[in-house]
């Protein structure tokens, strides 16, 4: 493995990890507020297809991002209504969101399959920073959405751990009854972060259709939404860890992809299995480690809050 190959793999890891990073950041926000949303895959798919259509018809990829953000948020608001207001089972509601999103995205994307996008996001070299040896080529010769995610990570970290709003968010996820009695509006808080989470998942999906591929294909998210859900556990609900985790998962994707271009006598089907098998292995390892260190999910995660039952 020579220097150029290493740089190429690591640069691909960042690009391949970015959609997962957006989705994982969204899910962290949502779970921190106490709502488990297993609809990430579906929200990403709807974000991917609506973003693609908007970018294609306006000629501006940013319109695609905006559309994907709105579509992801709209999808998430269904989940918020069902789980926060109607106290439905969060696992099943999230699954419904994924199943619905898979069908919906395929339905609206039917006419757009295989169409090329003439105006995808293109890499922009950051002056000075891109000249840093090694790291410059990996981190600072990317497209604007990658840079946006660089900004989003510290921003969310600060929101979570450095602001009053973040404290309220975590309180609602850990002990909604206590937060409620201190005057935090549990319902509004949960609605807000579930929807923000959906918006980020939507952008993650749009990254695939606006930059990574860039085109629309049915089911193009291919399990990345689920990997993002797993990644949240790996990241112990911390945005900075999610960044590291996303690039590791991106690296596995990239390695599988790069190995195919070399002369490796492993079937491509086995290489394609790598990210999924790796997710399982990591999940087992991390769950064990979290158990030992007594790090757990937000205490009220998955539980509906009922004022009359506190």
């Amino acid at each position: 493995m020579n220097y150029d190959f290493l740089v190429a793999v690591l640069a691909t890891a960042v690009v391949a990890g970015t959609p997962i990073l957006y989705a994982a950041l969204g899910e962290i926000v949502c779970e921190r507020a106490g709502i488990l949303n297993l609809g990430v895959e579906g929200m990403m798919l709807v974000g991917a297809v609506t973003g693609f259509i908007a970018a294609l018809s306006t000629g501006n990829p940013w319109a695609g991002v905006l559309m994907a953000l709105l579509a992801g948020g709209a999808m998430a608001s269904i989940h918020a209504f069902l789980t926060v207001s109607l106290k439905a089972n969060q696992v099943v509601s999230g699954l419904a969101l994924t199943l619905f999103g898979t069908g919906l995205s395929a339905y609206i994307g039917k006419a757009y399959i295989g169409m090329p996008l003439p105006n995808p996001f293109r890499p922009v070299e950051v002056p000075v920073l891109s000249e840093i040896p090694f790291l410059g080529a990996i981190l600072f010769r990317n497209d604007p959405l990658v840079y946006l995610s660089f900004l989003l990570v510290p921003l969310l970290w600060f929101l979570l751990f450095g602001t009053r709003a973040g404290l309220n968010m975590r309180a609602v996820g850990e002990n909604p009854a206590a937060a409620d009695s201190l005057g935090v509006n549990v319902f509004a808080t949960r609605y807000m972060y579930v929807i923000i989470g959906g918006m980020l998942a939507g952008i993650g999906g749009a990254y695939l259709s606006l930059t990574y591929v860039p085109a629309w294909m049915e089911n193009m998210v291919a399990g990345r939404g689920w990997i993002a859900v797993a990644l949240v556990i790996f990241a112990t609900w911390n945005p900075v860890n999610a960044l590291i985790g996303s690039y590791i998962f991106g690296g596995i994707h990239a390695l599988g992809f790069r190995l195919q271009t070399l002369d490796v006598s492993v079937s491509p089907y086995f290489l394609k299995m790598l990210p999924y098998l790796f997710t399982i292995a990591v999940l087992i390892f991390v769950t064990r480690k979290n158990n030992l260190n007594r790090i757990g999910a937000p205490k009220a995660l998955g539980l509906a809050y009922d004022r009359e039952e506190r």
């Binding site: 419904a96 199943l99 619905f100 069908g103 689920w226 999924y276 399982i280 999940l283």
Partner: protein, 368 residues
């Protein structure tokens, strides 16, 4: 809790409403069809004629009805399979992968013993299908039982692995040399094919489904074990206190759940396709989740719901000729589940209009 500016209030019911238990699924299906109608309208289709055609072709003709039953077989089996796990609140989302591994194992038997008679081959394939799916269910059950590793994600990841494994086989070592390079295995020998009803395509897999539905109904409602898995699901703390072995139950339940899903795969290859090919399931394992939930995990109701969903699948294929994407069916199924979930609140709560009920004697004291 209040809605609509206090016009509607919710009042907890002492027991779930039996009327709503029937009414909610029916209304949910109607509302989901309305959502579908909106999308059809938006894409310039006439919703009513489309629905009429779907319904009459899927249930109204002899051929349509038999196709509906054919499609309902894998849905029924996979629905029963995931229901076993859901009953214990184990979220087996891996029905699709277990179905593929059941099909793989049954195919392995069929391809390796081509000259054996049916009385020998079919039971062996039945067994192989159960083992293939059961092992695929057991793999995520082990870390779940002993380390508490989230089974939702692991079962789902294994779906992708199973599908890729079958693709590897049919594009590679199992590809039929006489198949003009299509990704198919060789056709099964006569002994490896399930009998069919008359000259229709309805195969003996239907009997598997009906039998298992009855067996599971008895197990769930009339046996100690059925009671045990329900208690573990509802309150693990009480179950542990009562001395129930939770890890062992997780392993058994996931193995049974996977085995029944695996049988769905075996029935598809042995009864319908007579060979293994990629993409033979349009997501039966996922639709099964909706079916199981819609049927409230009642095995007998699963048979009925699977039949209706089979019709939906057939109707969806038929209206493709009128330019309606078949994926509309997936969308309809997803929205049915939304309405069911939302409607469940009517089971647990009573809606009261205008005058809020007297709240002085409600609930526990405020604070912890």
């Amino acid at each position: 809790m209040k809605f609509g500016g206090g016009l509607i209030t919710l009042e907890k019911r002492a027991a779930p409403s039996p009327v709503m238990a029937v009414l909610v699924p029916v209304i949910s299906v109607v509302l989901a069809l309305l959502v579908g109608a909106v999308f059809l309208k938006l894409t310039g289709q006439g919703p009513f004629p489309i629905y009429m055609e779907m319904f009459s072709r899927a249930f109204g003709t002899r051929y349509g009805l038999s196709e509906t039953i054919v499609k309902s077989i894998p849905l029924m089996l996979a629905g029963l399979g995931v229901a076993v796990a859901f009953r214990m609140q184990l979220w087996n989302i891996g029905g699709e992968g277990q179905l593929f591994m059941g099909a793989f194992a049954a195919t392995w038997v069929a391809l390796n013993f081509p000259d054996q008679p049916a009385w020998f081959l079919l039971p062996l394939m039945f067994f192989a299908g159960c083992v293939g799916g059961g092992v695929w269910g057991l793999i995520p059950a082990l870390p779940r039982a002993y380390m508490g590793v989230n089974e939702i994600i692991t079962t789902l990841m294994l779906n992708y692995v199973a599908i890729l494994w079958v693709e590897y086989l049919v594009y590679g070592p199992w590809k039929d040399p006489q198949g003009y390079n299509f990704p198919l295995t060789a056709k099964f020998s006569a002994g490896a094919i399930l009998p069919t009803l008359g000259d229709s395509r309805i195969h003996a897999g239907l009997l598997f489904g009906l039998t298992i539905a009855v067996v599971l109904w008895v197990v769930f409602n009339r046996t100690r074990w059925g009671y045990e898995i329900r208690v573990i699901g509802d309150s693990p703390g009480a179950a542990r206190f009562a001395g129930m072995n939770i890890p062992r139950n997780i392993l058994v339940v996931m193995a049974v759940s996977g085995a029944v899903c695996g049988l769905a795969g075996m029935a598809e290859v042995s009864g319908l396709m007579h060979r293994l090919q990629p993409g033979f399931s349009p997501g039966y394992g996922y639709t099964a989740i909706i079916i199981a939930w819609l049927a409230k995990l009642n095995p007998l109701a699963i048979v009925l719901v699977a039949f209706l969903f089979g019709g939906l699948q057939v109707g969806g294929y038929i209206v493709q000729t009128s330019g309606v994407p078949a994926t509309m069916v997936a969308m309809l199924q997803g929205s049915v589940l939304f309405f069911i979930l939302g409607g469940d609140i009517l089971l647990r709560y009573r809606l009261r209009w205008r005058r809020p009920p007297d709240t002085t004697v409600k609930g526990k004291e405020v604070g912890t």
